[in-house]
Amino acid sequence: MHIKKLEIYGFKSFPYKITLPFSKGVTAIVGPNGSGKSNILDAIKWVLGEQSPKRLRVKEISDLIYSGNNDKKIDFAEVKIVFTHDPPLIEKYKDYEEITVIRRFYRDGEGEFFINNKPCRLKDIHFLFLGLGVNPQSYGVIDQGEVNKFLEVTSKERKRFLEDLA
């Protein structure tokens, strides 16, 4: 299983819909300071169910929606992620070669979630990713400037990573 595609619209510095194809192996995202690289990683974390404003580098969740001088009025932020699902890992979706998850957030505070285009709740998304062994707070997601965090947290917090693994 791997990420096949990511679509971002209205999220942070992306007022226009962009599509990012991903493939297996090692992919580097490169570009000048402030161009939007970490914002792409935030989009992935968010669609995987991340809820903490601090980990998404915003004060309030509404700051995730694009705001700028662009005359286009952006009402909502949406991220779509497409995973390959061959061989199938989740019983419920065994007939699907791909799994698509969409997360949307409106200015009025409403949020919407979809799995394979069927509306669902955030809980369902968490449940799905748990089954796939995917967790935006796992030891495999290291934020900018936090590489030494594993060594600097308390030994009890560090053990949580081992439990993730077990």
Partner: protein, 157 residues
Amino acid sequence: ATEQILTTLKEVNLKLREIFPLIFTKGQAELYLTEEDPLTSGLDLRIELPQREIKHLNMLSGGEKALCVIALLISFYLTKPGPFCILDEVDAPLDDKNSLKFIRLLHKIKEHSQIILVTHNHNVIKEVDNLIGVTMEERGVSKVVRLKLESIYNDIK
């Protein structure tokens, strides 16, 4: 659950024994539980480097700390490959030699795990499989460009 933690710890340490010396020549590292009971215990790291006494991890340099974390990350992924791994400029503290070691180690786990990383480091960019470029031509608006490895390389030179 206790059983599982102990077995996993043993497996990670086995991988660490193999990976750590690739980064720190003749070095050794080991994760250990701080108390008897695995359920309530903490987890610490002991490091030995030849002819050096590392009394505590804070003595390590910025780059050495990052290398330890990378060695642990790879050992975790070799023990239980997660579907993907997302790294945002973890190579920033590394010198030329160690940034090459870093990217070459990542290739060891790419068989089972997809790796997505952000970097400014040319040593790393040269050795990845795919490149995605991001720019901000119009103020405040991010755009994505599909890059060919050779084209980015020409820009840099």
